[in-house]
């Protein structure tokens, strides 16, 4: 594989990721312990089945262990939100309501108070 130089890194940084929609599932030890694996698989398959233009990704721990499994969604036209204690049923609601009907799902959003 090609070894990178300093300018290669700059090129990668300059090539901004296209503004794609995504769903991220927290897949660290605590997330997996709480059942994130099944949620990830369901979302990946369901998004593929419906042919939705959104990428399903794995990521590390968001820090709110009490609310695992956590799923963060960025879909065009909606604010970026985190859903907590996601199970299969809620994952289905996220796909149907959030992704398809473009509505936030009540009672499951965990909104944190922090600056980046």
């Amino acid at each position: 594989m090609k070894k990178w130089s300093k300018s290669d890194l700059d090129k990668i940084r300059a090539s901004r990721e296209p503004d794609r929609d995504w769903i991220k599932v927290g897949m660290s030890t605590c997330g997996i312990a709480a059942g994130a694996e099944a949620v990830f698989e369901y979302l990946r398959d369901e998004v593929a089945r419906r042919g939705l233009p959104i990428e399903v990704k794995k990521c590390g721990c968001l820090g709110m262990c009490y609310a695992e499994p956590l799923v963060e969604v960025r879909a065009a036209g909606l604010p970026q939100v985190i859903y907590g204690q996601v199970n299969r049923e809620l994952a289905r609601l996220i796909v149907e309501n959030h992704l398809v009907e473009k509505k936030l799902v009540s009672d499951h959003i965990y909104s944190f108070n922090r600056e980046e």
């Binding site: 030890t29 590390g60 609310a67 499951h108 909104s111 944190f112 922090r114 980046e116």
Partner: protein, 580 residues
């Protein structure tokens, strides 16, 4: 006009949750307004504020309104929803917020994707160090930053690097201590799992600064996922020339290996950790010589903690001055805490140094889960101490926690409520230290054991009046005479509980009473006849048939047979079992 969203949550601690009621009201009022189509009202599960009445959060972009009353709703709809104006009297201000510096990428990027890390400014710090800075200038930048070790003791990072660099010799080592041993803390695991490249990048920069060409990750074997992700990160970095010879086209060479810990708390001690990497029993040795002079294989070695390394790229990209602008006078930057125990929102919290314990537990952690009164917060794990409720307004930094008889430690923060007995807590930590003491020096080996025996005696109702003085005496001897940090700090849990909760100890000894009902031997169970419905549940469930009687005459506990297991107390549906 873009659609707006309003999150609604009733955050009052007491009383019934009215989120649904308020959300319905608000939705109806908006429905009747000109903004009907442009707004969705959403009930939140958690809105990031606690005990602040009804909270409304406007997405995207805010504002957040706290303590909103029903009467305010019309105003909110007219002014903010329709008019787009912020109502200053309701807007949130002054609550502690998290600041993500170390955790900047955790939960944001795919930890197994190197390019995602690079797009988030990854390896920019390394490029800068290699091509724009001399090693001495790198160390200078860290001196400016004021970054101190995040593993516990808070030793200035730049000084450690400077000392290791100053020792002559071509062969030097960098070690990343990822043997997170404090039971109840897992910041390092999350960082390794969520953002492995940032730790690796920090380590390579450290290698450049001190003139080392080889690094070791020393990771707990109990963290398989962290090991896997760091392993992948190392492989990716190697393939792309971020590790190896001539990194990024410079003339700097650096290689990294992984070594696994095997479950020994004492290996958090630098000299013990080095022995373990060398394949030996992890026992510490007297210092000096310090590892910076004679460390791994007798060569100059710098050992830094995972969180310290994760800070390194940020200091390099944003500059030492920027970093020094966060935190308190002597403790710069942020600290990640694993807030657990009886807290509502158990999880990882990253805050600027100087935030108070109360803010962490209540503003961010949401307070005590059960709604009971908070009794204390424990920091620093088995080497730390408890901090009582009336000291929770102390700003968190290295010096303040030490003054309170605890330590910053690696970042475990355990919330305890009225159900937690301080004698029991001290016993728990001492039990840990007895098992983990390596046995090399007598003060620690014998001292921890004797402390534990006295604590056990107290919790069993056999405490003697001279025991408290004896605990203090042994504890002080251990602090002064033990060989390493484990022994020197192992008595902290005893001393701090004794210091702040001596009454509880005295109650155990004199009144044979445990106010938290934790010390089994001090409890007595009896049946309150006036409340008893004679349902027989206690009778049927008692494992030792210590309950006699029948439905005619009622039921009684025979104290000589009772083993105080609490089964009857648990199964009684009528609160007819008294526990004293």
């Amino acid at each position: 006009m873009d659609k707006k969203y309003i999150l609604v949550k009733d955050t009052r601690r007491a009383g019934s949750n009215q989120t649904e009621h308020f959300a319905g009201l608000l939705a109806a009022k908006i429905q009747a307004s000109p903004a009907a189509e442009a707004v969705q009202v959403v009930r939140a599960a958690d809105i990031g504020f606690y005990d602040q009445g009804l909270v409304l959060k406007f997405l995207p972009g805010g504002p957040v309104y706290l303590n909103v009353s029903e009467a305010d709703l019309d105003r909110v709809v007219r002014e903010t929803v329709v008019g787009g104006r912020v109502l200053e009297d309701l807007a949130a201000a002054g609550t502690a917020r998290q600041l993500r510096v170390v955790l900047r990428n955790c939960g944001v990027i795919n930890p197994e994707n190197l390019e995602e890390y690079i797009r988030r400014d990854g390896y920019r710090a390394l490029s800068r160090a290699l091509f724009e800075y001399t090693p001495d200038k790198v160390i200078e930048e860290f001196k400016k930053s004021g970054l101190r070790g995040r593993g516990g003791a808070g030793y200035p990072t730049w000084l450690k690097w400077h000392l290791t660099r100053s020792v002559p010799g071509a062969e030097k080592y960098v070690i990343c201590n990822a043997d997170e041993g404090d039971p109840g803390a897992y910041m390092d695991r999350s960082i390794l799992e969520g953002d492995p490249h940032s730790v690796l990048e920090g380590m390579i920069i450290a290698g450049y600064a001190i003139g080392a060409n080889h690094g070791y990750f020393y990771i707990r074997a109990e963290y398989p996922l962290a090991i896997e992700r760091i392993g992948k990160a190392i492989e990716q970095a190697r393939e792309r020339g971020l590790l190896g010879t001539g990194i990024l086209g410079s003339d700097f060479n650096f290689e990294v290996d992984i070594r696994l810990g095997a479950g020994a708390f004492v290996c958090g001690e630098e000299t013990a950790l080095i022995a373990s990497i060398e394949g030996k029993r992890g026992t510490p040795r007297p210092r000096p010589p310090y590892p910076s002079v004679s460390g791994l294989w007798g060569k100059p070695t710098s050992i830094n903690n995972v969180e310290t390394f994760a800070n390194v790229p940020v200091v390099m990209t944003r500059g030492g001055d920027w970093f020094a602008g966060i935190g308190t006078e002597k403790s710069k930057g942020t600290k990640v805490f694993a807030v657990t125990g009886k807290v509502k929102n158990s999880g990882l919290v990253e805050v600027p140094m100087g935030v108070t314990l109360r803010q962490i537990v209540f503003d961010i952690g949401g307070g005590v889960r059960s709604g009971k009164k908070i009794k204390a917060v424990q920091t620093g794990g088995p080497s730390g101490g408890v901090i009582p409720e009336d000291r929770l307004d102390t700003p968190v930094d290295y010096e303040n926690l030490q003054k309170l008889g605890s330590i910053m430690g690696s970042g475990g923060m355990i919330v305890m409520d009225e159900d937690d007995c301080m004698v029991d807590i001290a016993k728990f930590y001492l039990g840990f230290c007895v098992e983990e003491s390596c046995g090399k020096c007598a003060p620690c080996r014998i001292g921890t054991y004797q402390l534990l025996k006295i604590l056990e005696r107290i919790s069993e109702g056999e405490g003697r009046s001279e025991d408290l003085d004896r605990l203090r005496l042994i504890a002080q001897a251990m602090q002064k005479a033990s060989l390493c940090g484990l022994g020197q700090t192992a008595s902290n849990p005893v001393l701090s509980t004794l210091n702040y909760f001596e009454t509880e100890y005295r109650e155990h000894i004199q009144a044979k009473r445990c106010r938290s009902f934790k010390c089994r031997d001090l409890l007595t169970y009896s049946i309150i006849q006036s409340k008893c419905k004679r349902c027989r549940q206690c009778f049927l469930n008692c494992p030792v048939q210590a309950i006699s009687g029948d439905r005619e005459v009622g039921f009684y506990i025979q104290l000589d047979k009772c083993i105080k297991c609490g089964k009857c107390f648990e199964v009684c549906k009528f609160n007819a079992i008294a526990r004293e």
